[in-house]
């Protein structure tokens, strides 16, 4: 029972790769000419949404298990064994157990979702994901009455992940959603990008994508899903609760402790790109605002 959500962005919004590359060359050339005159540069329209290139999406990543540099994951993540892969699903479910990747995929419908992706570090992309609605998997395993949260865990493999030698975070990486967020039709498990298998640095073989939340909520390379009645501990919140809340909805009105969140750098614009305003719930306000009716979003950041 997928296809609950239909993206307003379609393949018509995708710039053909040859045009895109061409445009980039033109921009780079113009940028160099503009030089210091960039203050007078024209602002980029916020709604000119074009998915980022494969190169941009797969070489600029935060996946600290493979290093804290943006290019570390694309350089190091090839060591991750993604097949065989299994996900342990436990907690308040009717059918707990270890589900192989193939088993999970056999029971779901893969769709394409072109989503905005907004990192808490104030940069953003548009990514054409392929994946299935998390709700389908949760429905299949049977969520028990009383379950209110879903906890997720990333694989922890010191032999394959050079970054976990340093306690950047309290490994394994953990994330969580409220059950209604997890069941929302926008919430997907992504297994591909641009119709290809999702690369390791982007969270292969299976990662969460919650487009109205900061990117770190969209946990990668998931090996465990637990249904629970308590708000689960989440990695960045454990590391620094003042800076990273459990909800972490994209919100231009609630600044991060160390930087403003009211605008963002769109990856792909080059050195002279104008910042674009950040949208409430990353532009998905109509779809998800009702989940937070009556909640103080600056308290529950």
């Amino acid at each position: 029972m997928a296809r609950r959500y239909q993206s307003k962005l379609t393949w018509d919004d995708v710039t053909p790769e040859h045009l895109f590359l061409n445009r980039r060359q033109i921009m780079a050339g113009t940028g160099a000419l503009l030089g210091a005159g960039l203050i007078g540069g024209t602002a980029q329209a916020q709604d000119a949404l074009e998915p980022n290139t494969w190169e941009e999406i797969t070489t600029y990543n935060n996946y600290y298990e493979f290093g804290t540099g943006k290019t570390d994951p694309s350089e190091n993540a090839h060591t991750l064994t993604t097949s065989p892969w299994a996900v342990e699903i436990d907690g308040m479910v009717d059918n707990p157990g270890t589900y192989s990747f193939e088993d999970i995929m056999a029971g779901v419908e893969v769709e394409e979702r072109i989503y905005r992706f907004r990192c808490v570090e104030a940069w953003s992309m548009v990514i054409p994901w392929n994946g299935f609605e998390l709700a389908d998997l949760l429905t299949r395993v049977g969520v028990q009455d009383g379950a209110q949260y879903v906890a997720f865990e990333t694989a922890l493999r010191p032999d394959e992940m050079p970054g976990v030698r340093v306690p950047v975070l309290d490994w394994p990486y953990r994330e969580g959603l409220r059950l209604d967020e997890a069941m929302h039709p926008l919430t997907i498990m992504a297994t591909g990008i641009y119709g290809r298998d999702i690369p390791n640095q982007n969270g292969a073989p299976m990662r969460l994508v919650v487009p109205w939340k900061y990117g770190f909520k969209s946990i990668k390379s998931i090996v465990r899903i637990t249904l629970t009645d308590e708000e689960p501990p989440t990695s960045w919140n454990m590391a620094n609760a003042r800076e990273y809340g459990f909800y972490s909805n994209v919100n231009p009105n609630v600044p991060h402790r160390r930087w403003s969140q009211d605008s963002e750098r769109r990856i792909g614009g080059g050195l002279f790109a104008r910042r674009v305003p950040t949208l409430m719930f990353n532009g998905y306000e109509d779809d998800v605002a009702s989940l937070y009716d009556g909640m103080d979003l600056s308290e529950n950041y």
Binding site: A32, T68, K70, A239, R258, I267
Partner: protein, 201 residues
């Protein structure tokens, strides 16, 4: 001839102005790379961080000149002014990329400086370096007198500490690299106090 003497001789053959040319060319080269896709898909952040780190490294090398001379017998004194002035210009470049290319709006730049402590600290370090850059010439040394000039240039110490704290503060999670830089900074400053203590003892 010892290794230190060999190096000292070689160093004397390279005048300070050559360092300015190399430094300026490297800064310009990085800018060119950023503008043409050579710094990855997000050149603003990349250039900002590269300039900042080079500035900090130059500052640390400048602070290493004295202990290297005292404890290792390495004499880089003829490069120290160039190292310091280059450090200042890379901090300036780092600041300009941050302000003009990254934050972009005056109000937001000001808000960051006054509201975000790690930016405030970085700015304070930058301000410390301005009088040093202005007085990094023989005329200033003559006019000020060597003693007060040296006193003023001790501002390089707080500038380095502020730079190190700025770096430690801006990263996410627990990361080793900025802590290593902080440790090097403190170690270099500690060497300045050791001889005094030895004399007292």
């Amino acid at each position: 001839m010892s290794a230190a003497q060999t190096i000292n001789t070689a160093v004397r053959r390279v005048p300070g102005w050559a360092l300015y040319i190399v430094g300026a060319a490297y800064g310009a080269w990085l800018f060119y790379l950023g503008a043409t896709g050579g710094l990855g898909v997000e050149p603003i952040e990349a250039l900002e961080h590269r300039y900042g780190k080079i500035a900090f490294q130059l500052l640390l090398v400048g602070l290493a000149v004295t202990p290297l001379r005292q404890h290792v017998g390495l004499n880089l004194l003829c490069w120290r002014r160039a190292l310091g002035v280059l450090a200042f210009f890379f901090v300036l470049a780092h600041f300009l990329v941050w302000a003009v290319l990254d934050v972009q709006r005056l109000a937001a730049i000001w808000a960051d400086i006054v509201e975000r402590p790690y930016v405030t600290i970085g700015m304070a370090g930058f301000l410390c370096l301005i009088p040093l850059a202005i007085t990094s010439n023989n005329l200033a040394v003559r006019k000020m007198g060597a003693a007060s000039w040296r006193k003023l240039h001790k501002l390089a110490y707080p500038a380095a500490v502020l730079g190190a704290v700025h770096y430690v503060w801006l990263v996410k999670g627990f990361q080793l690299e900025p802590l290593i830089y902080l440790a090097i900074t403190l170690a270099l400053l500690a060497t300045r106090f050791r001889p005094t203590k030895a004399r007292v003892a």
